[in-house]
């Protein structure tokens, strides 16, 4: 026993050590990785605002436009160590521009190399964001581990695993010309569900019931959404915001709907099966009717909040675009349909998936309990 305790604390200690080393190592690397980029990167050493002007347009929007003279030092490539001069223009609102500050790293194009010591001239391409993204990733990891401990660790692993599955599935979709996206999304949905639920709940009937009801729930949602789109001829859905894709939008939209509702449906599936199995374990002689009634009661409590979660995730992203259209004199119904129609459709279809999973989850769990009873 003592030996075991010693072992687990050694494992824990080495896990902390690995975490700390990768934390320091990765932060060091990402702050000194300039040489790995082929595009020149300049660190800004001086930023001077040259002049500002006030703007107003035909819709009465007012903004302030400023121009900025930046001086930087190239960090990599053949011009490493040379000074570079950059011009930048930015607005107060910053819809597609930024005010740069000293100390920032920017990806640049070098336009002209002058004499040996003269400053280069160039244009700004993009901000170097990798170190920020990494820093936030570490904040996320530490917050989840400190607060969530073991469960936090599983959440991180499950996120990483699901992101990997998604990336792999998309690679297959891109590489194979004729692979149907919906087919691939369907298979991924199965994989996502199985890995996530097994990871959180382990191998038992409760998990199997949850997996079955989740898969049935998302497929039902997809079917109903397709039915709604088919009967209405797609009227009211505006694919404008997906115009940048050189692929059939409708299928991509459906696949997104499929995957997007999965998490919420999984949550409902596991809640239903966990609570019905708990009822059964507390009282093995409980009647089927009693299980159904309790299941519906629990379902009633969660369906509203779950639908809300999906709703806010989907709608929030469209707010900046909606504001831009409104500020440009677009009428509400037009701006609304161009920026929100897909998101609302997604939220509603996801909500349908959530609600349908409640009875599906109840019947699936009861089915598994019946098998268990018959076996006894």
């Amino acid at each position: 026993m003592k030996q075991l305790f010693k072992n687990t604390s050694t494992i824990r200690f080495s896990m902390y050590a690995v975490l700390l080393i990768s934390f320091i190592g990765s932060l060091f690397f990402v702050n000194h990785n300039h040489a790995f980029y082929s595009q020149p990167i300049a660190t800004i050493t001086e930023a001077v605002v040259e002049d500002t002007e006030e703007l107003s347009d035909m819709y009465g929007n007012e903004d302030v436009l400023s121009s900025q003279q930046l001086l930087g030092v190239i960090q990599n490539g053949e011009y490493k160590g040379r000074a570079i001069e950059l011009d930048n223009e930015y607005s107060l609102s910053g819809a597609n521009d930024h005010e740069y500050r000293t100390g920032q790293d920017l990806f640049v194009f070098i336009d002209g190399a002058g004499e040996n010591d003269a400053a280069l001239s160039g244009t700004i391409d993009n901000v170097k964001r990798d170190h920020y993204v990494l820093a936030i990733t570490w904040v996320f990891i530490f917050v989840l581990l400190v607060i969530g401990r073991k469960q936090g660790f599983y959440s991180i692993v499950s996120l990483a695993l699901n992101a990997a599955i998604l990336s792999f599935a998309l690679d297959i979709y891109i590489r194979t010309e004729n692979a149907g996206l919906l087919m691939i999304a369907g298979i991924s949905v199965l994989l996502f569900t199985v890995t996530s639920l097994l990871l959180v709940n382990g191998f038992n009937e409760k998990t199997y019931a949850a997996i079955l009801s989740t898969v049935a729930g998302v497929f039902a949602a997809l079917l109903l959404a397709s039915f709604a789109i088919w009967t209405s001829g797609g009227n009211g859905l505006n694919y404008e915001e997906m115009q940048f894709l050189s692929r059939p939008y409708e299928v991509v939209f459906m696949a997104g709907l499929f995957i997007g509702s999965l998490g919420a449906v999984m949550d409902v599936g596991i809640t239903m099966s966990a609570s019905i199995f708990t009822l059964y374990e507390k009282n093995p002689d409980i009647s089927i009717e009693a299980m159904k009634t309790s299941g519906i009661e629990i379902g009633k409590d969660i369906m509203g909040t779950m639908a809300n979660i999906l709703f806010f995730v989907y709608i929030s992203g469209s707010i900046p675009m909606l504001l831009l259209y409104l500020s440009n004199g677009a009428a509400w119904p037009f701006a609304f349909s161009i920026t929100l129609s897909l998101e609302i459709a997604r939220a509603l279809a996801g909500g349908l998936g959530i609600v349908l999973t409640i009875p599906i989850g109840i019947y699936t769990s009861i089915f598994f309990i019946k098998i268990k009873r018959a076996a006894q």
Binding site: N61, E62, S93, G94, A95, N96, F107, V127, Y132, V133, I136, V143, L144, I147, G148, S155, S158, L170, S196, V200, A228, N235, G236, Q243, L245, R247, V252, A255, G256, L257, I259, G260, S261, G263, D267, I270, I296, K300, G304, T305, N308, L310, F311, F312, Y314, I315, S316, G317, P320, M321, L323, L324, L326, S341, R346, L348, A349, L352, V355, L356
Partner: protein
């Protein structure tokens, strides 16, 4: 027939059939939340109004709808309400700092073509808008977890009135941790689903890893997902402390 109306009708029918009166209330609250969001956008459209102030107002209204309208006013919902608002403000400070630092404000390359005819200089701070978007995307999940922690904590307190404040906090943490996995999953998949088109676009362009990580849209997506995860984890201690404080205050 409009798809949105048809889907809304189907959802309403399903909620009422399965949830009865409570289902109808759930559907109404969804609709009310939508109206709050539209109203917020309407207020933000005036550059004289501060987007951050309005996002805080919106979140307070939304929490009122989700907690008080659906569950009534009692210790549990008041604790959940206070936890939601406290978490949101802590998260908002962090997000504002991050959006300013990482410059993820404004539109991505994939949207710029579509916007070429529009004036982008509209006088509304897109840095603040970016922060507002992240906060609103998690508000549903944050209210959900706060109520899911404070409600069983009250049951624990009712059945064991002798428990000290710190023991109650401990119970709250245990309840919250069990919710962490499924709640983060719910959000992650919702984000994956809504970013699917962008992910396909990235793969189509065969961007290098460096190009992807540094691009504004991808960084914005990552930061949104991670901040949402941080928010969900932060509610756990905040809701446990506030609920334990409110429950043991009177005695």
């Amino acid at each position: 027939m409009n798809v949105l109306i048809l889907l809304a009708f189907m959802l309403c029918m399903a909620m009422v059939m399965i949830g009865g009166k409570k289902g109808a209330v759930s559907f109404l609250s969804l609709f009310a939340n939508f109206l709050v969001l539209l109203f917020t956008v309407y207020m933000m459209n005036d550059p004289g109004n501060d987007p951050i102030l309005w996002v805080i107002i919106a979140c307070v209204l939304i929490s009122c709808i989700n907690l008080f309208f659906i569950n009534g006013i009692n210790t549990t919902t008041i604790a959940a309400f206070l936890s939601t608002v406290a978490t949101m403000i802590v998260l908002l400070v962090f997000i504002l700092f991050m959006t300013d630092l990482t410059m993820i404000n404004g539109f991505g390359e994939e949207e710029i073509d579509e916007l070429s005819l529009l004036s982008l200089y509209i006088g509304i701070s897109f840095v603040e808008l970016a922060a507002a978007v992240i906060i609103i995307s998690t508000i549903g999940a944050i209210t959900d977890i706060s109520i899911s922690i404070s409600s069983p904590m009250r049951e624990v307190h009712l059945h064991n009135p002798g428990l000290s404040r710190s023991e109650l906090v401990h119970a709250g943490f245990a309840i919250g941790r069990d919710l962490l996995g499924t709640s983060t999953n719910t959000l992650f998949f919702a984000f994956f689903g809504s970013y699917l088109a962008l992910l396909i676009w990235f793969k189509d362009l065969s961007y290098s890893l460096g190009d992807i990580i540094n691009s504004k849209i991808f960084a914005a997506e990552m930061i949104t997902i991670l901040c949402a995860g941080i928010g969900i984890a932060l509610v756990i201690p905040i809701a446990s402390w506030i609920t334990a404080y409110l429950l043991t205050r009177k005695t």
